[in-house]
Amino acid sequence: MTPPAVMLACDQPATMRAVAAAFEEEGVPLMIIPATGYREAATRSQLGIGIACIDGRIALGLSTGPDIPYLIGDDARMIGHYAARLAARRPLGLA
C-alpha cells in the first residue's frame, strides 16, 4: 500500500531531481507519473496536488478549483518546496 503522494508529471532529469530533493527535505511522498499536465497529475494525486512542466516552466496545480496553475515558476526546487509544504500543511514561506 502506498501513502498518498503529490504527483509529478515531468521527464526532465534535472527538474525531477530538484523537485524530488524538495520533497525529500520536507518528508513528503512524491510519485513521478506519465501525465499530460499539472491538472491531470493533481487529479491522480490523493492529496489533490500535481506538478508538471509547461513551456519550460514548472507549474503546481490543484485537482479542484479553477484550471490554472496555483503557483508557477522557473525554479523547480522552489516549486517543489512549495508543493511539499502545501501537502504537509506548512507555511510556504511566501511574503
Binding site: A21, E24, E25, E26, G27, L62, T64, G65, P66, Y70, L71, H81, Y82, R85, L86, R89, R90, P91, L92, L94, A95
Partner: protein
Amino acid sequence: MLVAGVDVGNATTEVALARLVPGREPEHLSVTRGPTTGGKGTAESAQGVLDLIERASRRLGEYPVRILLADLHPVQTDLQELAANETQDLGGVGIARPVSATPSGVGAAAGQLVDLADLVGDVLPHSVIPIVPVIDFDDAAAQINAARERGWQIVAIIVTGDDGVLIGNRVDRSLPIVDEVHDAATLPRGAWAAVEVAAQGATVVQLADPLRLAVLLSLDPARARGARNAARALVGHRAGIAVRREATGGGSARSAARQATLHSGAVVSIDVDSPPPAIGDVATIEDLDLPLLDAFWTRLPAAEDSTALALQLMQRRAVGLAVLAKRGDRALEEALAVQTTAEVIVVAAETAAAVAGASTTPGAGHAPIVIDIGGGTVDLHVVLDGETRAVAAAGAGVLVDHLCGALLGIDALRAERAKQLPSVHVETPFILRHEDGSRTFLSTPAPPQTIAHLCVTERRGGSLDPLTASLAPEVWSRLRRTAKREVIATNLRRAIDAIGGLPRGELVVLVGGCAEDAEVVDEVTLALADLDLAIARGDVLGRHGPRAAVAVGLVLLHARGA
C-alpha cells in the same frame, strides 16, 4: 440653522449635521466618520474635522453656521518592550537561538565548530560540528561520509541551506542536523558548540536546561547558573544551537522601568508586575511633562495555552501605557476658527454629550448609566437621584490595538483590524478553520501566501490577511479577548470604583467605537455580572449603532440650551 456636532476622538472623528429650528426637535441630517488627523485636540486634528464637514455639507449643499465641540482631553497611548533595551548576559554562551523548520535526526551533541572544507585536513582528536555552506547536498554528504571514514568524530551538522534532511538521509538519519542557518558563515570557527534536535512534535530538552547546557558546553559549575538566559531563549523550540564563548557572568542588566509618582508621594514602577493605580492617583510620570488626569498601564496578556509562548511573552517585558492629560491649549478650536467661517462653540464635557446621544437609543429613555468606550478612554457617566457623577479612565481601544500589535508583530493599522475581525487558520487552499473549530470550504483556493497561516478575515469580503505569528486561531482569540478584558473591563472597574459603585439592576447603555465589538460587550457584561445590570448597546438615533453618541449629543445639548 445648520450645526455640526463634532467628536474628535483619539482614533476617529465623527461629525453629526443637524438643522435647528427654535421650538422644534433637531432635524438630524447625517453622521460622517473618518480617522482623526494628528493628535486629539491639536491644530492638526482640525483638518480631519473640516474634511468631514466639507464632505457632509457638499451633499446638503449647505455649510454649518456653528461647529459644536466637546471639552476634550487627549490620551497618549504607547507600548514599550523593556526587554528590548536589556542586556542579557548569556553566561558563557555566546549564541543561543532556535533554528530549523525541518531538522534531521534526534538528540543533542557538542563539538568544535569547523568548516566543511577543514574535514580534508588532519583529524582532530575530539568531536566536531561541521558547518556546511550552500553547496549541492550530494557533494556535502559525500565529503562528510569521507571524513567519517577517515576518523572524524562528527556529532552534529549545521547546514546553511535547506538541505538538512537530504544530507541526513545520505549520512546518518540519527545525527542531529539543523539547517536554514542562513548566517552560519558568521558562527565562530573553533568555538565549542552544542546542537539539539527534538523528535517531531517535541521541543529541545538539553539546551533548554541550564545545567545540561553548561555540561554540553563544558562550562564550569560557577558559570552554569549564568547559562539560564541562554537556556530560556531555546525553550519551546524543536531545534537549537548554542555556542560557548570565553566569558564569565550570566547576570542580567534589567532595564529600568519608568517611575510614576502618586499624589500620596509614593513612587511606583510602570512595569509588568506593578498594578495600575486608581483613577487620578498618578501625579507625574518620569519624562512626561503633562498635567495628568489619569494613567493606566497593563502588560501583554498571559498565554495560558502554551508554556513556551507564555515565557516568550513574559521575557519581552512589554508594558502598554495610556495617559489622559488635561489639555493646556485651545489649538483645535483656534485652528477651526481660522479655517472656517462657522462659529466654534465648546458645548459640554464629552461624558455629558455621550449621555445625551445615548439617550436617543430607542427604548432607553433617559439612560441613567452610560459607558462610552472609545479609542483613548473608558468614560463612565452616571445620573441617579439628580446627582451626576462622571469619570474618564485612560486606556481603551487604542491600547488594545497596541497589545494586539505586539502579540502579532504587526503595525497599528493591521492590529486594529486584527482586534476587530475574526481569524482563521488556512489549513489547505480550500479549507479554513475558524476560532471555534468549525470549517469553511472554499470554492476558489486561498492565496498561496496564506497557506498554514493565521489570517485575519473580513466578515463579508472574505479576504485573508496572513500573519507571521505562529498562533492557532483559538489561541489568538483567547489572547485577543484577554487584551480587551485587561484594558477595557479593568478600566471600567477602576471607573466604577472611582465614582463609588453602581446601583444594582439599573440600565447601562454602551456607546463608542469599541461598543461595536461584540467581544468588548461580552467582556463588559462579564465584568459587571455581579452588579446584575441591564447592559445594552446604544443605537444612536435608532440608526447609528453605538457610534456618534457624542457628536449627536452635542447637537442635542446645544439645541436644549439655545
